[in-house]
Amino acid sequence: MAKIKKKIKTIKVDADKCNGCRACEIVCSGYHSTPKYSSINPARSRIHVISHRMKNIWLPVFAGEYAPAECMGRDKYVIDGKEYDECSFCRASCPSRDFFKEPDSGLPLKCDMCESDPPLSTPMCVQKCLNNVLTYEEREEEVEEEEVKVEDVETGLGSMIPARQTWTSDCIIGVYSLT
């Protein structure tokens, strides 16, 4: 099978620096409205800052793939001695809850890395986060021709070590591949 070069776009999240301002949600919703910036509504954003203030959780999460059904085995997180709900930090737009769905139609939302023509220098949420929580990275990778979309996601946050995801020390990494 032939190998092709593909751009891997990554937004690295340094959650420890997040001050919880939600500027990322605001700009994402505005950028994706038609015409651009005609309306603002964080509920339409493809990034969501999960916050449990008294538990010191401020965690920007990007909308991932649509899950047609609730998943089976779910995770329990213990952070800072407190236990969290099974779905607390999940990125999927899924029937079990109203996260990452258009508020009126219920259609799933997914981060598209602000894909546009001509392309942006960096995605909007990265531009508007003045605290450098979000860092945009691009790299090229050789992949099999058939593999058009890679749905791999790595996410991470310090003390959270659930079984089925890869967690790095103090940041969350979302790896998105777009052809």
């Binding site: 301002c21 409205s33 003045l130």
Partner: protein, 656 residues
């Protein structure tokens, strides 16, 4: 289609439980913008001068500002207005945080409460669904604790909740309304909320806020963003650290408190401790702060980090901001900052203002030491400074024993206690506790700000003009060089000519005419912020801020589609400002009330002070009693106000 604003208010009658979604008149935005402007108009229309704070007719209005919910950085103020139990005037404390944006997204500009609920309730606003829910199980719960309990009960972690604690329930005059890391604290909003039997207001919204010319708005915000980045990397030289940056005072970030601890007064605004910041105290304060702070946090859509989640030893976590970091330690003469971090946790859960409350406690301690309050009043009180403050705080929040009297604030408590206690009330203006500052030479600019503003709290009047003259010509030239925020070039000349000593120094320079212009500028900008819901820390409260009179009209035009220039914007806020003044005039406010405490400055100049006041009144278009003239009111399309003032005999017909 309505832009920037939603065009709807929620009207809630607590007595009947009736809830209405009311469309507003689009012309109100053209006349008063929103936020404070439209609130003042509503109080003028609906609350007669006879109404007292705890009358059912007193309206309690939670308002967004015009730019809340838009991408304008730092537009997040929730404004709360009501007749204050302390001043009997129209009060308008504000809070940052996340509540007002959420209300906009739920589809409302304001929530207007009238009458009283027969039992303790909380309000749940979830887009179009609005409920009044039983809150008897939350009675006595902490103001912070309540917020999470409600989120859990509603199973909605994204709900934003503004709540009162025990102090509000007990109608303590300094009770605050707490919300996340923020609070609307001054002048007793929590007491009015408690009087209406509202424990909390929770809100969640998932609707759109529309921008008339969104792309243009974002373009303008690019410039603002660039300036924010510039200011965050280029602090202003030659001024105190706390004044050098932007945002509300960065009290959580900065540990250097030499200025506050040595220049502000300790105790009941009593003692200056010029040698406090020694090595030992500096080490204690720095390590206490650094060890307690878990994370620096912001308000909605703001890149600054004025607040913090704190986890001090021995008490549960809470959120802190601003000057509250040190007010209790200083009022109690406790050198250990850890004490402040501990007691502020309890004070936040009780929900009390951390400017006024420590002064009330210090006032009580002074009265006890002077023998005016006795052992009987202090029965059960521990003898040590820290224990005494905790004990007094409990009494005040619970309105027990002497606490019941103190809970009305220094002014009323002094008069109720009598026996010479009035003399110890030396730091209130219009019955409201002020920052603990006592200085040497009369400052004419501050004299006017303290005396005349409806806010009655200096931190929300001052800001754009430097607090004192720069010592050298070079420093002055450097300061004015890139001073783009000035409404007029002549302000630069005032700075260049202003000297720390000699003929061109305070109290005679700036001249009364110049002072009038300077104060009017600062006040105007605060009034714009308060109508837009912008944090004063990014505009009116700091030197060289990102928002100012030159970019505001463009931002407002792009957001609302209502084309407005600088003159037009000034006229709108002047209109609201004069309406506010007339409203308070009808409630009795006159020239005689407009004076800072006698000992605020050691060196006073009675003649000059009278001249300052008269010059300023004239500049504002007010008569010598501080009432707007008919002529002024007509210019501002406020003929109906002139008529009412005349009808009530406050303005004489045919005479200004």
């Amino acid at each position: 289609m309505r832009y920037a604003e939603t065009g709807y208010n929620l009207e809630i009658d607590l007595a009947t439980g009736n809830i209405e979604r009311v469309e507003t008149d689009p012309r109100l935005m053209e006349l008063h913008l929103g936020g404070l402007g439209t609130n003042v108009k509503m109080h003028w229309d609906r609350v007669p001068p006879e109404t007292k704070a705890f009358d059912p007719e007193n309206l309690l209005i939670f308002s967004t500002g015009l730019l809340n919910g838009t991408p304008a950085y730092s537009a997040n103020r929730t404004l709360v207005t009501f007749i204050s139990p302390q001043s009997h005037l129209l009060a308008y404390p504000m809070m940052g945080g996340f509540w007002s944006a959420e209300l906009k997204y739920a589809g409302y500009d304001k929530v207007i409460f009238r009458n009283k609920s027969p039992k303790l309730v909380y309000i749940w606003i979830n887009n179009d669904k609005v409920e009044i829910r039983d809150a008897t199980h939350l009675k006595g719960k902490g103001a912070l604790e309540t917020q999470d309990l409600i989120r859990e009960e509603l199973k909605e972690p994204r709900a934003q909740v503004a709540a009162i604690g025990l102090a509000g329930e007990n109608r303590v005059f300094t009770a605050s309304i707490e919300q996340g890391r923020s609070s609307a604290s001054r002048l007793g909003g929590g007491a009015v909320m408690g009087d209406k039997n509202i424990k909390a207001v929770a809100v969640r919204g998932t609707k759109d806020v529309y921008l008339a010319r969104g792309a243009e708005f974002m373009q303008l915000m690019e410039e603002v963003t660039e300036y924010i980045n510039f200011r965050n990397t280029n602090p202003i030289p030659d001024v105190m650290t706390i004044l050098s940056g932007i945002g509300s005072p960065q009290e959580m970030k900065h540990t250097d408190e030499k200025w506050h601890t040595e220049n502000f007064m300790w105790g009941n605004a009593r003692t200056r401790r010029r040698d406090f910041w020694n090595k030992k105290n500096e080490e204690n304060w720095t390590s206490t702060q650094l060890e307690s702070i878990t994370r620096l946090i912001s308000c909605f859509n703001c890149p600054q980090q004025c607040g913090a989640l704190v986890s001090p030893e021995g008490v549960s976590r809470y959120m802190m901001k601003c000057f509250g970091k040190l007010t209790y330690s200083m009022a109690a003469y406790v050198d250990d900052l850890g004490f402040n971090f501990r007691i502020l946790q309890r004070a936040t859960e009780y929900g009390v203002d951390s400017f006024s409350t420590p002064q009330i406690l210090a006032f009580a301690v002074e009265l006890y030491e002077a023998g005016i309050l006795t052992d009987k009043d202090f029965e059960g009180c521990p003898p040590d400074k820290e224990g005494r403050f905790f004990w007094l705080l409990d009494r005040v929040a619970r309105r027990e024993g002497i606490g019941d009297i103190l809970a009305d604030g220094v002014y009323y408590a002094a008069r109720k206690i009598g026996k010479g206690a009035e003399k110890f009330d030396h730091n209130t203006i219009k019955k409201h506790e002020q920052l603990p500052l006592k200085l040497g030479m009369l400052d004419p600019i501050y004299f006017l700000m303290y005396s005349t503003n409806e806010k009655i709290s200096i931190t929300q009047i001052e800001g754009n003009f430097p607090q004192s003259a720069f010592p050298t010509r070079e420093q002055r030239e450097a300061f004015v060089k890139d001073w783009i925020q000035v409404p007029d070039e002549r302000f630069k000349q005032y700075i260049l000519d202003w000297e720390p000593r000699g003929d061109h120094a305070i109290p005679y320079f700036p001249t009364p005419e110049m002072c009038s212009e300077i104060v009017d500028w600062m006040e105007m900008l605060h009034n714009i912020d308060d109508a837009l819901g912008l944090c004063a820390g990014m505009s009116s409260f700091c030197l060289k801020p990102p928002y100012h009179i030159h970019n505001y009209p463009k931002l407002i035009s792009a957001a609302t589609g209502m084309d407005i220039d600088e003159a037009g914007l000034k006229k709108i806020v002047n209109r609201s400002r004069n309406l506010h003044r007339a409203f308070n005039n009808e409630r009795g406010l006159r020239r005689a009330d407009e004076k800072p405490p006698e000992d605020h400055w050691k060196r006073r100049f009675p003649e000059l002070e009278e001249k300052l006041l008269s010059t300023y009144y004239k500049f504002k278009g007010w008569n010598l009693d501080g009432v707007p003239t008919r002529e002024r009111l007509m210019e501002l399309d406020l003929g109906y106000v002139a008529e009412d003032l005349e009808k009530r005999g406050i303005l004489e017909v045919g005479k200004n």
